[in-house]
Structure formats: structure tokens, C-alpha cells
């Protein structure tokens, strides 16, 4: 009896030929997307630096005296900064990222934000995830990319969120994206009960249920997806051996799994990873520096691993955070919610360097950094120049593209 029949046709009464080989063969042989040559093999890794990453202590404007005046207890000393030029440099905890920068693998876009910024974590996160600053969307920008690209439903891993809960960015109207906290927890616990599993597997595949429901087909499809994907994922990625030492941190584990998924060639287009919390209202230096170091070291290991498998040019990593923080420090050696902040694009396909405008600390939006690049420009660039898809429908408008990709 095929193990994959468990639950699938099973109790759900779903008429499905639960043959995993067929399902996955189809998934892996998916047609290349129209658009850029080679884009069918590319993967986008999004890292959400949640909580509001303070941009000014991340990409430090060490050439600006105002920065030191406004942050007497918080500023990064000039002699500590990992200088990029005479005006800006990286936080000293990001040595690993600086080394990637020096190898032209990092684009830093400064001053990213959107008009009429919201200062609530909640709403601003939603705005970044749905790419809709002026209305409420039930789908995320990546979810709409999946809908628009009509990726085959049979590919259960076209997108993967390495998180407990599916982030709004990946919510799609038409397809199911798994959120996988880790290989260990993405499993049906009842699978361990052989008798229960076999009972499911012996059930006939009929659907003579004594009721109709508009959601019945959806429930059955999701039950099937859940069962198949949780059962298949560990097998599909089991052949991969990491060739880098990842730090023993949550982000290290997440990116190790991301490299494993990329290297296992499941047809995955987008992987979502979370890191934080950057909500540093109090004693910011200790918290933020540590988080930035964890991020920077994990990303460096990630690209070492990818490169060792020849995948470094296939993977573009893009960071984002719901907002930057207030320019002036508060009374608790921390900073309050702000507005625009820098983000990173990392990978072998990146044209390294500085983009956007350096924050002008003299001309502010009530004490906050004004935005010079709309975050939807970054999304449009990624959609069109990396994933090879038109962006206007997904982003509900045209946004200029940045020359950040080689």
C-alpha cells in the first residue's frame, strides 16, 4: 500500500491518484516562465527584519555631524564604522556582510519607504507585505505574483515560508503556499501511528458525501497538499549536504533550510525568512548589533553554501523592515518608530554598490528620514528583472526599476 495514500484520498474521500512520483515529476518539469532567460531557475529569498530595523545604525552616516549630535548615547563611533566611503559605512557587527559587499555582491538601497508612512508595526508591516499603502488587500505581493504567473498547482513548493505562520506577503487567491517552521515540525504527528495511517490509506477514493459546500473542493485539495507536502519534503531535500558552517542561530537554521530547498531543485521561486525583533525602544546598541551580526554571519554562510553548490547566482536575497526609526535617540538609549530606511539586495546576480539617496538629517519628516525610493520600485525591479514577470498588475501600478541587478 502506498504510504502517500494516507489521509489524501482517504478520509477526505478525495478522488486522487496519489502517486507522488507523478506529482513531483510534473512539478519539477514545469515549463520555464516566459521572460528573462534563466529566470526559471532563479529563486528570491526575502528576509523580514521585523520590528523596525534602525537604518541609521545599520548603514551609518558617519560623515554627517548631525548624526552624532542627535545620537549622543547611541551613535556608532567613526573609528568603528566599516566605511564604504567618506559618508556612510556599515555597523561594525556586520563584518561578514561587508566582505560580501567588497566582493560586489551587495546593493544597499538607502531611503526606502512610501508616501504618508504609518508608524504602527501592524499596519506598516501589512503595507510592505501587501504592497498596498492606500487600501486593504487580502493577498500579498508575492501571492499575487504566484497568481499572475500561473505556476503549476502541482508544484507544492513553488513558494515556501520558513516561519510558523504564513506571512501576508505569500497569501494568494489561487494557490497554497506552505509555511514550514522546520523540517521537524512540518509533519503530521498522526503519521507516527501506523495503524491510523494504514486505515486512511485503505479508504476508497469516492466522494459521495451527503452534503455540498462551496469550500469542499478547497478543503480536500488542502488536505491533500498538506499530507503530500509534509510527507514528501523531507525525502525531497534529504540528498542535500550543506557545505558551509552555519551559525547556531534561528536565522542560521532558516537559511540552511533555504539553501537545502534551493539545492534540491523543487522549482521553488520564493523563500521567506524572518529575523528579529528589531523594535529597539530601549538599550538599542546591544540588541541591534547582535541581531545584525546574526543576520550578517548567517547570510555569509548561506552564500558560501550556495556557491559551493554552484547556486549563488541563482539566489537573490532581499531584506525589508516595516520602518526605520526616529533620527533622534529617545531617553532610554533607544529609538522610536520612524520612516524610511535602507535595505539590502544580496547575491551573485547583484550589481554591488550604493543606491538611493543618503538620508538628509537636516530635512526630515517631523524627525524621521524621508523616503527617496518607493519600496514598490524595489519590488518592481525584483519581479521584472529577477523573476521575469510584469509588475504593474501585481503592484497595482507602474514603478521605476532600479539598476541594482547585473
Amino acid at each position: 500500500m502506498k504510504r502517500t495514500n494516507f489521509l489524501l484520498g482517504a478520509v477526505s474521500g478525495l478522488a486522487v491518484v496519489a502517486n507522488s512520483e507523478h506529482v513531483f515529476a510534473r512539478a519539477l518539469a514545469q515549463a520555464p516562465l516566459p521572460g528573462l532567460p534563466g529566470s526559471e531557475k532563479r529563486c528570491l529569498v526575502l528576509i523580514n527584519l521585523f520590528g523596525g530595523n534602525d537604518g541609521l545604525n545599520c548603514v551609518v552616516p558617519h560623515g554627517d555631524d548631525r548624526y552624532y549630535r542627535l545620537r549622543p548615547g547611541l551613535a556608532v563611533d567613526r573609528n568603528e564604522v566599516l566605511a564604504i566611503d567618506a559618508r556612510v559605512g556599515l555597523n561594525p557587527s556586520m563584518r561578514s556582510l561587508k566582505s560580501l559587499y567588497d566582493r560586489q555582491m551587495v546593493a544597499i538601497v538607502q531611503g526606502v519607504g512610501y508616501p504618508n508612512p504609518d508608524h504602527s508595526h501592524f499596519r506598516s508591516t501589512e503595507i510592505w507585505q501587501t504592497a498596498a499603502p492606500d487600501r486593504y488587500e487580502h493577498t500579498g505581493w508575492i501571492g499575487r505574483y504566484f497568481d499572475d504567473a500561473s505556476l503549476p498547482k502541482t508544484n507544492l513548493f513553488k513558494g515556501v515560508s520558513i516561519s510558523k505562520v504564513l506571512p501576508e506577503a505569500l497569501v494568494s487567491a489561487r494557490t497554497d503556499i506552505p509555511s514550514i517552521a522546520g523540517l521537524g515540525s512540518y509533519a503530521m504527528m498522526a503519521d507516527r501511528d501506523a495503524a491510523a495511517r494504514d486505515a486512511f490509506s485503505r479508504q476508497a477514493h469516492d466522494s459521495t458525501l451527503p452534503f455540498a459546500s462551496p469550500y469542499l473542493a478547497h478543503v480536500m485539495a488542502i488536505e491533500g497538499d498538506a499530507q503530500r507536502s509534509s510527507e514528501e519534503l523531507p525525502k525531497l531535500v534529504s540528498g542535500y549536504q550543506a557545505k558551509a558552517a552555519y551559525p547556531a542561530t534561528a536565522i542560521g537554521r532558516s537559511l540552511a533550510l533555504a539553501a537545502q530547498i534551493v539545492g534540491s531543485n523543487l522549482g521553488t521561486k520564493v523563500i521567506y525568512v524572518e529575523h528579529g525583533s528589531f523594535d529597539t525602544h530601549v538599550s538599542q546598541r546591544k540588541t541591534q548589533d547582535q541581531l545584525l551580526m546574526q543576520f550578517s554571519d548567517a547570510v555569509a554562510a548561506f552564500y558560501d553554501d550556495l556557491a559551493a553548490h554552484g547556486n549563488d547566482r541563482r539566489v537573490l536575497t532581499v531584506t525589508f523592515s516595516e520602518f526605520g526609526r526616529r533620527i533622534e535617540e529617545n531617553g532610554n538609549r533607544g529609538t522610536d518608530h520612524g520612516e524610511a530606511s535602507p535595505l539590502f539586495l544580496i547575491g551573485g546576480g547583484v550589481r554591488g554598490g550604493l543606491y538611493g539617496a543618503m538620508p538628509d538629517l537636516a530635512v526630515t519628516n517631523m524627525g524621521n528620514v524621508r523616503f527617496s525610493v518607493d519600496f514598490r520600485s524595489v519590488y518592481a525591479t525584483v519581479l521584472e528583472r529577477w523573476l521575469g514577470r510584469p509588475s504593474a498588475a501585481v503592484l497595482n501600478g507602474e514603478f521605476s526599476k532600479l539598476p541594482v541587478l547585473a
Binding site: 482517504a10 478520509v11 487580502h138 504564513l166 501511528d193 485503505r202 497595482n396
Partner: protein, 468 residues
């Protein structure tokens, strides 16, 4: 507007078939029987125990609705210990206090003698959304109590009250809306998400409403709300075609005079209780009823919950169970009397953290509840619950017949009201040690608990059990 967004807004689906408008809101005839009674208790509450289903099954639809509406005096309900003035909610131990409050409410849903009151409280929580303010957990309880007080009360009055509620004033910035710097957040959401819907007002209406709402403040760590004349803009405003020196109360009254307001709530309540994406003519019929009763909910719910359309096959299992309905309903179905702390992280994984709606628009519901990730979390919640000692506390599972056929029959009846295919039923019998189960050892004293647990899991993994 992106073309694809129109097709599948919010992932909600209308049932197949045609609405019979002429009879839709007339009372469903005859006594309910157990299938319809279970449907009623799932929708108007969080499911029923076998005894409750039997009791409601013997009633006529109008009497069943009246029974559910006979809410005891809200003041008789004891607040959670945590909400006492000197209790933990008054202090800044946020995580623990909010978890305790979540657990208190879940248990109230499970055990309340007035389940409809809790169901409407949950409805209002998702409708008039306010995210918990971690620093002041008690104001979250106060808002919850407000929703419970108005559960089947007057919508217009509730809207007046919630506009001046501390949690709402903080969440949607009403507390920082002052004459010198008007903040439009609440004024906009009041119309867009709470009462009228987009395209039923102008940007000028938002600005003028924001001016009218200036002056409200939250003081004493959220324990008091005051109106500060000095921060209020007392000038003339023009709002939805009327002009005067309006304040916030005037704004609510003008909104509730709009026929669209009744249609908006009618749509929302039909989505909550009957089926998703209801037909415009059904919405209009319920809206007329609502206006005739001057936005009193009890008589409207009395008609709706006894109606033909509510008991129609088109409505049956036509909604997706929310995680809260799934979790509370499971405890209820099993006859367990206390929801334990394990439910809190499970609910978060399934996508529903009480007091933390994902956005000011509330939980989108429908297809959005189910992804392969949340489906695994639902099944694993069942596995954990069934594997724990709580199973022994189930009132009816202990008395399950030993004969596999009878045991399977009881399980299918109680857990999914026989909404299983013949094949699934025989598989359940086989699993329990009946015919065709050559691979399984027969049921014995040693494997009894384990096997019953597995059979309950199988019945709860059916598609019907995901649907309401």
C-alpha cells in the same frame, strides 16, 4: 485595479444553487432534528454536546432561536480574575495577562449558558477590530466586555460606545486626534470597515468626520476616557450632505441614517451566520428588517436564525470553521469542560490569535483559513489533544459501545452528524476492528484507548469537520 484581485476577493465563495427570496426569511417549518440542531449550534455558538443537540433537535426553529437569544443579564457574568482592579491585568506583565485573558474567553465560549452572546462577541471583535495594547491589557478586557454587553443589543448604540472605547481610541489613533492636528485614522475606518464600505463617502467626509471626533482622550493608563473640550474642533462641518457643528455622536447618527449602513451590516451578518457572498436581494431583505427594528439585533437574529435560508442545504456546511470555532468546537464535541493552555499556541499557528487580528480589517476568513501549513497545525492540535489525559474526561467517549460498527456509528453521528461517505464510514469500522481489518488486531482492553483516540482523529480529519 489589478484584474485578478476582483475575481476572488478575500477567498470567499457563494454556494451553488438559487436563492428562493420569497420564502428565504420565513420560519423553517417543523421540529429541527439533530442534523439541523447541530448546524444551528455550530453557527450560533461553538457546536453542541450530544445532549444539547438532542434538546435543540426537539424544538421548532423559532423556539430554538428564541432560546439562544434568551441571554442572561450580562452583569451577572463574572469578569476574569485577571481583570480585577488590582489583578494582573492592571500591571505591565503583558504576555501572561493577555494569554490568561485569551484562555478565559475561550473557556467562556465553551461553557457559557449563552453561546450566541459569545459568538456575537467574537463577531464584533473581528468587526470593530482593535489590537491589544500590550502595555494596558485591561482595556482589552473592557472592550471585550463592551461587545458582550451589546452582543444582541443595538448596533447604533454599540457604535457610539465603541467609538469612545479606550482600546479603539488607542488602536485607531482617536486619542491623538486633536483640533490642531486632526488624525483621520478612526474617521476613515469607521466608514470604510465598520459601517458603510468603500465608495460610500468622500475624502471630504473623512476629513470632516475627523474634525468632529477631535477631543477624546485616554487617561489613567487606559482606565478612563475623557472628552477634552479644549482639543475639540467645535466649528461647522459638512458630512454626508449635512451641515452643522457636529461632534462624534452626530457622525454616528448620520451614518446610521444611511440605508447603506443597514446593507453593510446585513452583508456582514449574512457572511457570519448564513453563507459567504450573499445575494444582493437577500442583503436588501435583511437590511430592511434591520431598519424596521432600528438596528436592534435581537429581533433580526431571531428571524435570521429561524429562517428557511439559514436551514437550507445551500447554507449547510457552507462556511469554513475558523480556528477558534475548530478548537472550541472540538472541546465541546468531546464533552470536555476546560480548555487548557495548549490551545493558545495552537490557535496562533492556525492563524487566529484572539485580541491580535491580522489587520484592522479583521480576519479575512473563508479559504484564507486553510493552507497546507494551517491544515497540518489543525491535525497536530487534534493529535496533541487526543493524546493527552483530557480524553479520559470526555463524557461520552468513555461510554462508547465496544462493537466496532456501533462505535463507528456513534463517532460519525456525534463528530460530523453522519456527513461522511459510505467508504469513510466502513474504514472507520475497519479501523475499530470490524470486518475487513485483517491487518489490525481486534479491539481489546489493552489497545482500546489508543484505538478510540485514533478513530476520533480519523473522524475529525474529514472535510466535513473543517466546515461549519
Amino acid at each position: 485595479m489589478a484584474a485578478q484581485a476582483k475575481v476572488d476577493v478575500g477567498g470567499i465563495l457563494r454556494p451553488q444553487g438559487r436563492l428562493d427570496l420569497a420564502t428565504a426569511l420565513q420560519p423553517y417549518p417543523g421540529t429541527l432534528g439533530e442534523r439541523a440542531a447541530a448546524h444551528l449550534l455550530r453557527r450560533a455558538g461553538f457546536g453542541g454536546t450530544p445532549a444539547e443537540i438532542a434538546r435543540y433537535g426537539a424544538m421548532r426553529a423559532v423556539d430554538a432561536a428564541a432560546t439562544l437569544l434568551a441571554v442572561p443579564n450580562a452583569n451577572s457574568i463574572a469578569p476574569p480574575e485577571q481583570a480585577q482592579v488590582d489583578g494582573p491585568l492592571a500591571q505591565r506583565e503583558t504576555r501572561e495577562s493577555l494569554a490568561a485573558l485569551q484562555l478565559w474567553w475561550l473557556n467562556r465560549m465553551l461553557n457559557s449558558p449563552a453561546p450566541l452572546q459569545e459568538k456575537m462577541t467574537l463577531y464584533f471583535h473581528g468587526h470593530f477590530t482593535s489590537r491589544a495594547t500590550p502595555r494596558f491589557p485591561r482595556i482589552t478586557y473592557n472592550q471585550n466586555a463592551l461587545f458582550r454587553r451589546y452582543a444582541t443589543g443595538n448596533l447604533r448604540e454599540l457604535t457610539h460606545e465603541v467609538s469612545k472605547d479606550a482600546a479603539m481610541l488607542i488602536f485607531l489613533d482617536g486619542a491623538s486626534n486633536v483640533a490642531s492636528h486632526p488624525n483621520e485614522n478612526y474617521a476613515r475606518e469607521l466608514m470604510e470597515l465598520f459601517t458603510l464600505g468603500v465608495d460610500n463617502y468622500t475624502e471630504d467626509d473623512v476629513r470632516e468626520s475627523a474634525r468632529a471626533w477631535t477631543g477624546w482622550r485616554v487617561v489613567r493608563k487606559g482606565d478612563a476616557v475623557v472628552f477634552d473640550e479644549a482639543r475639540h474642533d467645535a466649528g461647522r462641518k459638512t458630512f454626508l450632505g449635512r451641515t452643522g457643528n457636529f461632534n462624534g455622536d452626530d457622525i454616528v447618527d448620520i451614518i446610521f441614517d444611511q440605508p447603506q449602513c443597514a446593507r453593510f451590516f446585513a452583508t456582514s451578518l449574512l457572511n457570519w451566520f448564513v453563507y459567504n457572498d450573499p445575494e444582493p436581494e437577500l442583503i436588501d431583505a435583511v437590511a430592511r428588517l434591520m431598519r424596521a427594528h432600528r438596528y436592534e439585533l435581537a429581533p433580526v437574529l431571531g428571524v435570521l436564525l429561524a429562517s428557511n435560508v439559514f436551514y437550507s442545504e445551500r447554507s449547510y456546511r457552507a462556511l469554513v470553521k475558523s480556528p477558534v470555532e475548530f478548537v472550541v468546537g472540538t472541546y465541546k464535541t468531546l464533552g470536555l469542560s476546560e480548555i487548557g493552555a495548549m490551545a493558545i499556541p495552537s490557535l496562533a499557528q492556525m492563524g487566529q490569535r484572539l485580541f491580535f487580528p491580522p489587520s484592522v480589517a479583521g480576519w479575512p476568513g473563508g479559504k484564507n483559513w486553510l493552507t497546507s501549513g494551517t491544515m497540518i497545525d489543525r491535525q497536530n492540535f487534534l493529535t496533541r489533544l487526543l493524546g493527552s489525559q483530557t480524553l479520559r474526561a470526555s463524557s461520552w467517549l468513555r461510554q462508547l459501545p465496544v462493537a466496532p460498527k456501533s462505535a463507528a456509528s456513534v463517532l460519525a453521528q456525534i463528530i460530523v452528524q453522519n456527513d461522511v461517505s459510505p467508504a469513510s464510514r466502513s474504514e472507520l469500522e475497519a479501523y475499530l476492528g470490524g470486518a475487513g481489518s485483517a491487518a489490525l488486531p481486534s479491539l481489546s482492553a489493552e489497545n482500546y484507548d489508543e484505538r478510540i483516540t485514533g478513530a476520533v482523529y480519523l473522524a475529525m480529519a474529514t472535510p466535513a469537520y473543517q466546515l461549519n
